[in-house]
Symmetry: C2
Subunit: 260 residues, 2 copies
Amino acid sequence: MSRRTRSDSSLQGIPEATIARLPLYLRALYALADRDIASVSSEELAAAAGVNSAKLRKDLSHLGSYGTRGVGYDVDYLIYQVSRELGLTQDWPVVIVGAGNLGRALANYGGFASRGFRVAALLDSDPAVIGSVIAGHRVRAADEIERVVSDYGVMIGAITAPAVAAQGICDRLVAAGVTSILNFAPVVLSVPDGVDVRKVDLSIELQILAFHAQRRSVVRVLHRGEPGVGVAASNGSPAAAKRTLALDGDGQVRAEAVGS
Amino acid sequence: MSRRTRSDSSLQGIPEATIARLPLYLRALYALADRDIASVSSEELAAAAGVNSAKLRKDLSHLGSYGTRGVGYDVDYLIYQVSRELGLTQDWPVVIVGAGNLGRALANYGGFASRGFRVAALLDSDPAVIGSVIAGHRVRAADEIERVVSDYGVMIGAITAPAVAAQGICDRLVAAGVTSILNFAPVVLSVPDGVDVRKVDLSIELQILAFHAQRRSVVRVLHRGEPGVGVAASNGSPAAAKRTLALDGDGQVRAEAVGS
DNA sequence: CCGACTTTGTGCAAACGTTCACAAGAGCGT
DNA sequence: ACGCTCTTGTGAACGTTTGCACAAAGTCGG
């Protein structure tokens, strides 16, 4: 049991929360390697990655015992181990469907190629865009999804197309054999079991920020002793016109509540 | 008692996980409203948002008792309540720093303006870009951060600049009074207490996908009766292993796995 | 070789999040 | 008014994640 083999950890067992942090550690490790730092303690690495050191140690312990007590972790060795765990020692051809602003941003993204990902093709359905060259790739017709997936052995697809087109594209990707999808369109994709979908939604992130910002401003107002924000008083609510949303004076109730 | 007031919930209590899902519900609700659907059950709404119905009900219960037993939720009313909770009944001017591909994508993003967010200004430090018009905004010099934040009362900033510039931009935004930051640069930003940072990292999402994709292929290979990935053979010394980075046959494993 | 010092790896408990399962409530037909 | 049906809101069980605190295991100076 001193030597933890891959079967212990990889086959089934690394917590999802840990997986989500490994790329963070990897990035911090590469930054250290660039500065020719050969060894790093959990404390230092944790600081660089913006997490708690105990958490970092526990995360890394899921991969195996790759540190040296009293010393720390060997940077290069850890880079290799984390990369291997994440599957980055191999090359992943990615197809990007949708050559709009987001698709271009993705294709041009530097951190893309540098970590084992390679743009296999950039597709779009707009005839005006097809044929143009973006980030060194000639944009191909969206019709070619199946051919591209098959020709390049693509297993990862990024959908950067408009929301209405997303599900259709997704279906075609899946039918063609893609099992991992990165979805930028603001829709919930439905996929068969065994297909992994991750979503990135800019609007959602902004809304979460707005929530906290609003909370802060309400608190601040209270601390200054002002009664309420007076936002719900008259205006604003989308539904207010349609329905009798008279309600309890929300701004005030909320204001009083947050105060404590 | 029976009527749960906002004080119960907002006081200090909505779980972060719930907040993160509210925008999802909101999107689903708007889709329903567009189809003139007036009422929806937790089951239906949950399906539309891609979550479990019990979770949805518990999430909504944190906002208050806005449903009707035996019937469901009134779509318009719930839209209003969720919007209010998220702070979307007011307008949020956002400054975007970095007018590269990502900044343009963000500025052009439709779901942006439609939910209470408004691009106050688009900034860049490249003289070649300053002055050009993107999504109806004349790009201004990055030097104007302080002026823009002050003039428009900006509380949210999006950093779409290169990684090396991100921390500097962040510091200036914070100094100017911005308390919510959406960071697209692949760096860990350090900010004083009270400032909220959310990050979107395309590369991290891809790496997480790669992990699962790799896992799938390894598992599939193993199920076909192959013993194991021959890596545990090497001994435990980091120093020794550091030099022997002889890769186990990853390419093969993957190639075989692809055929499903 | 030893003792002081450093840092990892992990047992444990608390916090947090998810899911089940069902009582309580609301509408509806008779 | 009553019982039937439907759906919410939530207590309780369960699983996951975090963070503390410390033993184990290493380095290093003398």
